[in-house]
Each structure stands twice: as C-alpha cells, then as structure tokens.
C-alpha cells in the first residue's frame, strides 16, 4: 500500500502522467458528482423530514454544511500542496494549489450566501455575527489574499512559493482565528442558537447530508482536474508531448 502510494506520488509529479491519468479520471468524477448530488438533492429536498423548530428552511443545510466543510478542507489541501512544493520541490503541487483556490473561494462564498439566506427565516435578518459565519467570512478573505498574491507576483515560480508559504501560515492560523472568534461570540452574544447546532440528527437527515458531502468532493475533483489540465498545457507548452498532443487535435 505504502509503496503503491509512493509510486503514485512520483508519477503525479510528472506533468505528462498527471495529464494522461486525470483525463481518464474525469468521467468518473463527473459521474460521481452527478449521481451523488442528484440523489442528495432529491433526498434532502423531498424526502428528509423538516426540522421541528426551523421547518423546511432547514433544508438549506444540505448546501450550507458541505460548502462550509469543503471551504475549510480545500484550504488545508492548498497548504499540503504548499508543503509538497516547498519541501520536495514538486512543481505539479503548485498547479493543483492554483486550481484549488478558486473552487475553495466559491465554496466559502456559497457557505456565506446560504448562511445569509438561511438567516432570514431563522433570525429574521440577513446577517448575524454568528461564530460560524464570521469565521467563514475571514476564511473568504484568506482565499482572496492567496489569489491576489498570485496575481501580484512575477515570475510564476516566485508566486508559487509565496502562495505556498502564505497557505501554510494561514493553516497554522485558522485554528487560532476560529478559537478566538468562538470565544468572542460567546462573550458578546450568548444564548442565540446557531444555525446548524443540532442535538442529534436522525439518520433520515444526516444520510442525505453525507451523500451531498461526497457529491461536493466529487465536484471538487472534477473542477480542479479541469483547471489543472489547462494549466499543465500552458506551463508545459514547450515539452514535446504537449506539442504532439496539440497537433493530434
């Protein structure tokens, strides 16, 4: 198993191999995303029971929670890619990190937006300085920072390393920020209830949530592979195999 992972790692480091193998993965990710998201949506919207307190607006959870989850895990993935780039100098790691950033930012935005919409029936206001939403907002700024830094720096290798370092520094700080925001929230606004804080969810509620989460991950794979493949072509334009591929049509 370990050996297999090691060879996979080394192969993924080669742009050519990455391009070819991800080409064959694409339909699988696409299929999984469509199936999981389809099943999850229908189940969550039509079959899962409504919440006894919030009623049917609770169904927004099926977008909000997976989006918030992905927003955080994509940032961690970016930091891991950053470590791989800085320590093992694997250039493909940067292609992946660059492709992750826009998807992560979208997920963060989505979590914020669905949180705001959810807030209207629940709190009676579009925005509330709820601990989870505030952390999400800060995470959104962190994503914007990484994207802006890449735009600002030249040449590309320098931008790659700088973004990797920023993502690593960010990942060390995220728990601190989260903890401090939670603390601040309990200090200032105790006893309002949090959107997704549930005592115990019945299986008919959390199974579709899990399916949606899997669907989001498949979507992540699909979207990131699409972006990474275009980036590989751009960066490896001079390589023989890219020219061959382009001539083949």
């Amino acid at each position: 198993m370990w050996k297999w992972l090691k060879t996979l790692y080394h192969r993924l480091g080669s742009p050519k191999w990455f391009y070819q193998i991800t080409g064959s993965w694409l339909p699988w990710f696409a299929g999984a995303a469509v199936v999981f998201l389809g099943v999850g949506l229908v189940w969550g919207l039509a079959f899962a029971p409504a919440d006894y307190q919030q009623g049917n607006s609770f169904r927004i959870i099926y977008i909000h929670v997976p989006a918030a989850f992905l927003a955080q895990s994509v940032y961690i993935m970016m930091a891991v890619a950053g470590v791989v780039l800085l320590v093992w100098k694997m250039k493909m790691a940067d292609v992946v990190a660059q492709s992750l950033a826009p998807f992560g930012a979208t997920m963060t935005f989505l979590a914020l937006l669905t949180g705001a919409i959810w807030g209207v029936p629940t709190w009676g206001t579009w925005w509330m300085w709820d601990a989870r939403l505030t952390s999400m907002l800060i995470l959104f700024f962190l994503y914007l920072g990484v994207i802006a830094l890449r735009e600002a720096l030249q040449p590309q290798e320098v931008a790659a390393k700088a973004c990797a370092l920023l993502a690593i520094v960010g990942v060390i700080n995220i728990p601190i920020i989260k903890y401090s925001v939670d603390w601040w929230y309990t200090l200032h606004q105790p006893a309002t209830f949090t959107l997704t804080e549930k005592p115990a969810m019945p299986a008919s509620m959390w199974v579709p949530l899990l399916i949606m989460l899997l669907g989001f991950y498949a979507l992540l794979g699909w979207s990131v592979i699409l972006r990474a493949r275009a980036e590989v072509l751009k960066r490896e334009y001079k390589a023989g195999w890219v020219k061959e591929l382009l001539q083949r049509k």
Partner: protein
C-alpha cells in the same frame, strides 16, 4: 614602484576569525538602529495616522461620553492595528531594491536572526511610541482609568504578535511595487485574534473583571509568533530575492 593614487591593494590580512551568531546579532541591532533612526519620517507617520484615526471617531459618531466610552477599546485597537500595518509595509522593500537583502542571504549566518534584529528595532521605534501615545488618546475617548494600564499591557503583548505576523506579509510583498492594499488583505485576517483578545482584555477591565485570561492569551500569541514567524519571514525573504 609608484602606484596610481587610487591603487587598490589589499590591506594586511588578519587571521580568519568568524564571530559567533550573538555578536553578529548585536552588530545587526546597532546597524538597524542607526538606519531606522535616520528615517524619521517613516517612524512618525504611523503615529500621526494612529492619532488621526482616533480623533475622527468622535467627529463621526458623537462627542458624548456614554457613546464614546463603550467603543473606545475597539477604536483604539483598530487604529493601532492599521498603524502597525502601515509602518510595516516598507520594512523590507528598500533592502530588496538596494541589494542589501541579497547581501544578508550570503553572510554565512542564518537569515532569521538578522530579520529579527531589524524587526526588534522597528518595534522599539514604532510600536513602543504608539503604546506610550495610547493613554492620551484613551483619555480623549473617555476610557476609564482602570482600563488604561490594561490597555498598555495588552498593546505591549499584542504589538509583538502584530509586528511579527505583519512582517511575514511584508516579506511576501517585498517584490510587489505598490503593495499597500495587497499587504492589508494578506495580513489583516491574521490580526483578528489579537484584536479580539486585546479589546476583550480592555472590556474586562472596564467592567471590573480580571483581564488576566485575555492577557495571558495575548502573551501566548506573542510567544507563538516569536517562535514561528522568524522562519516564515526568512523563507518569504528568500522567495523575494529569488524573484529579483
């Protein structure tokens, strides 16, 4: 044999005698002190900015005590945050542009302590005056006396973390021509914990409670920043040099 007037000729050689890291650190402190003291404008501007932002608030909200006093901790901290950020923006860029940063990379000594020396002097010359200025601005915002001491102590601990974390952003953006906004975007999210615990300490003091919990958390943040940030700063500076 007569040499031309400007003839280069090596001086008498002494045996090689490499100084220890601490001696180099001390020399770096002295050099930074001289350099930064001579750039007075860069030191005064953030202080003026700090005072000005604080003065604008009563004009924008209300001059009455019952409105100003509750928001005073927040206003003071936000202004201090922005002033620190502003003072850090040009910390490393001149060094990158005149080549002294690449010289620091080839001294044969680790870069982190050299960057720390620079940052230490910068803290002494910009954050410390800011802390000393803060009680006067606190009085103007009707900050209760009990909170003044806590504010200075909180600023003392918090500004260490602010300087160190901000310097990471300054290192990353050293190669960017005009980086003011970019630097703000990169660094401000990381300032949030300091802001929360800093204002928390002051509010605890105002409400008559103990600010110890907040202060010790600020201290922990400062300690964490001192141990981790220098390495990130050094890595950021190396990246900046490789881009020139």
């Amino acid at each position: 044999m007569n040499k031309p007037a400007a003839a280069f000729c090596r001086l008498k050689q002494k045996p090689a005698n490499l100084p220890g890291l601490f001696a180099v650190f001390k020399a770096a402190l002295g050099r930074e002190w001289r350099m930064q003291v001579r750039r007075r404008g860069d030191l005064v501007n953030p202080l003026v900015f700090f005072a000005l932002v604080v003065v604008l608030f009563p004009l924008g909200i209300s001059p009455t005590e019952d409105i100003l006093a509750p928001v005073a901790p927040g206003v003071l901290w936000v202004a201090a945050l922005l002033a620190t950020l502003m003072s850090l923006d040009a910390l490393f860029r001149p060094d990158l542009l005149d080549g002294s940063l690449e010289q620091q990379l080839v001294t044969g000594y680790p870069l982190a302590p050299l960057a720390l020396a620079k940052l230490g002097v910068h803290w002494l010359l910009s954050s410390l005056p800011l802390i000393l200025l803060s009680p006067f601005l606190g009085i103007m915002l009707y900050l209760p006396w009990e909170a003044q001491g806590v504010m200075m102590l909180a600023l003392l601990l918090g500004s260490l973390a602010l300087s160190l974390v901000g310097a990471i952003g300054a290192a990353l953006t050293a190669g960017v021509g005009k980086s003011g906004v970019l630097m703000t975007l990169l660094v401000l999210p990381f300032y949030i914990p300091v802001l929360i615990f800093g204002t928390g300490a002051m509010q605890a003091a105002i409400s008559g409670g103990s600010a110890m919990a907040h202060l010790s958390l600020l201290g922990a943040l400062a300690a964490l920043a001192i141990t981790l940030a220098p390495w990130a700063i050094a890595a950021g500076l190396k990246i900046a040099v490789s881009g020139e």
